[in-house]
Amino acid sequence: MAKMVALKDIAKVLRSKNSGPFEVTIDIVFKNNDDYKKFMNSGVVTTELIAKLYKLPQEKILTFCGFEAANAFKITIPRRRNQGSIGETDMHAAQQHAPLLSIMIPWDKE
């Protein structure tokens, strides 16, 4: 059986950020193309998983897409509340990556 490793220990960058006032975008960037491909092939991060972690229907996910030239994967979702208005908890949406940190990915050494 493949060894399971947390996404935080594989990704070079795992960040979230507001993209304008109505969207949160999450970037998962790998240190090289091999790692990117292993992540993509694992099939662990799916729209179902994102919908479950961020408590939204799958069809609300705005972007779910890899960019091989950057060895990066991007997920964009709507904000839960209007940015910087009543009830804000994360103006720059900079901490919204947290639920992904401990997602386990099967990770065999080459």
Binding site: P21, V29, K60, A69, A72, Q83
Partner: protein, 453 residues
């Protein structure tokens, strides 16, 4: 006819005007002989209160300090300086404050400049006409724009593309300074390269990366230097410790954008799917293959409206007996406050419970950990400051004294670090305009004023 340059050299001293330019590396960047210095001052990232209340991102003093440095270079080295999105939101009022700073410094130091000021406040009647023509659409997951919301917005600006900058450069050949209102962040850099005949895709991509300063380097820094060539552009930071790496530049391309390689902007989409990021030295990267795909010309409108007044109270809880029942306890407090106010629709009461889920709210994945201590921030929003203060006061006194099951600590339920115990926050705003609007001429809604000081 503009003679095409062999290359275009751009220095951007930092990603956000007012945040502090590292001077040593700025001067080194100037030694690399830039043709232009571009600085972006704009962002909606820090919230709607700037547009809603007319506040600037940084203080006039912070901008003044950076203007002194930039204008010294502009005057002594004859290098033009383009500054976009004055004050953060780019309203006409903030363009005028930036002009005022330039005049003050020029007067004090005996400098002379030719300046173009480009304005971006959009007339509300013009927007309503566009709504009726069906030429306004949401930019992201939000409602269609209504004429009523247009009226409620304090200020509405549009993000200009490269064309108003290019128009200013054409109309005044020896411009020293451009101060623009709200601009698409890459516009000043892109405009300079496009004006000199370079590829649209490469120009927008170089602008997109440089507008954040050396955030594309590892470690991230401030001053960044870009050189545009026929077949691509190179990036390098004047500070040798900040190294541009192919992966750091590629990763930055995705930064704060909704899609990884399709970046919509004024007049089209930047398509980076065929991009190549090549390491050409230990600290420099060459980017090529960026494509610009023209689309119907649209600009993004931004506006915000005030929605009430807020008061907060910050409280700490350490008693494990209360921490163990915090959810039901706060519901009791909410009921008591509702009863006191009488009209639950007239206000909002939000408990931010740090230590439990203060940051993630309902998306907090860890529901198991029992925290040692909690920080509860009571947030109240109401129609007036007095009302918000009064409701927050009620919630605060209930939180301090209302009994809970098994209580043995009868001195008070929480510890308050700050006075006043209820902290008035003033007016709170909300983005209510974030829509794209079709326009026929990319310069028609951005009037330019020329002046000499």
């Amino acid at each position: 006819m503009i003679l095409k340059k062999k290359e275009v050299r751009v220095l951007t001293p930092l990603g956000m005007m007012g945040y502090g330019i590292p001077e040593k590396w700025y001067h080194k960047g100037v030694e690399w002989k830039p043709d232009v210095i571009t600085v972006d001052a704009g962002s909606t990232d820090s919230g709607p209160q700037k547009l809603g209340l007319g506040a600037m991102t940084c203080s006039r003093e912070a901008y003044y300090k950076e203007f002194e440095l930039l204008l010294d270079t502009c005057y002594n080295k004859k290098i033009p300086v383009f500054i976009s999105s004055a004050g953060g939101d780019g309203t006409n009022a903030h363009v005028d404050i930036f002009l005022d700073i330039v005049k003050e410094i020029a007067g004090k130091k005996g400098y002379h400049f030719k300046i173009a000021a480009i304005y971006s406040d959009i007339d509300k009647e013009y927007i309503k006409k566009k709504i009726r023509q069906g030429k306004v659409a949401p930019c992201g997951p939000l409602e269609n724009l209504t004429e009523e919301e247009v009226d409620l917005a304090s200020n509405i600006v549009a993000q200009m593309g490269s064309e108003p900058f290019i128009k200013a450069m054409k109309e005044c050949k020896d411009l020293d300074i451009i101060i623009s209102g709200r601009s698409y962040d890459p516009a000043p850099t892109a405009a300079y390269a496009i004006y000199h005949g370079f590829d649209l895709g490469l120009s927008w991509h170089m602008g997109k990366i440089m507008e954040c300063g050396a955030l594309c380097a590892e470690p991230a820094g401030r001053n960044i230097f870009g050189i545009m060539h026929e077949d691509g552009f190179t990036l390098e930071a004047p500070n040798p410790a900040e190294k541009c790496k192919s992966y750091s530049v590629a990763a930055h391309t995705l930064y704060e954008k909704a899609h990884p390689y399709l970046l919509p902007g004024p007049g089209g989409v930047l398509d980076l799917s065929g991009c190549n990021f090549e390491q050409i030295s230990d600290s420099a990267v060459k980017v090529s293959g960026s494509k610009f795909v023209p689309k119907t010309y649209t600009v993004k409108l931004e506006g915000a409206k005030p929605v009430g007044f807020r008061t907060i109270c910050v409280a700490g809880i350490r008693d494990p007996i209360l921490i163990g029942q915090i959810d039901s306890y706060l519901e009791h407090i909410r009921e008591r406050v509702d009863e006191f106010v009488g009209d639950p629709k007239s206000y909002e009461l939000i408990f931010h419970v740090y230590g439990r889920d203060g940051v993630m709210g309902e998306c907090e994945p860890d529901t198991e950990t029992v925290p040692k201590e909690l920080c509860v921030i009571i947030e109240v929003a109401a129609a007036t400051q007095n009302q918000a203060n009064m409701i927050c006061n009620k919630a605060r006194t209930e939180l301090l004294h209302y009994p809970y099951e098994g209580r043995i600590a009868t001195g008070g339920n929480c510890g308050f670090p700050f006075t006043p115990l209820e902290i008035p926050l003033g007016e709170v705003c909300k983005f209510n305009v974030y829509h794209i609007m079709e326009i026929d001429d990319p310069t028609e809604v951005f009037p330019i004023k020329y002046l000499e000081v």
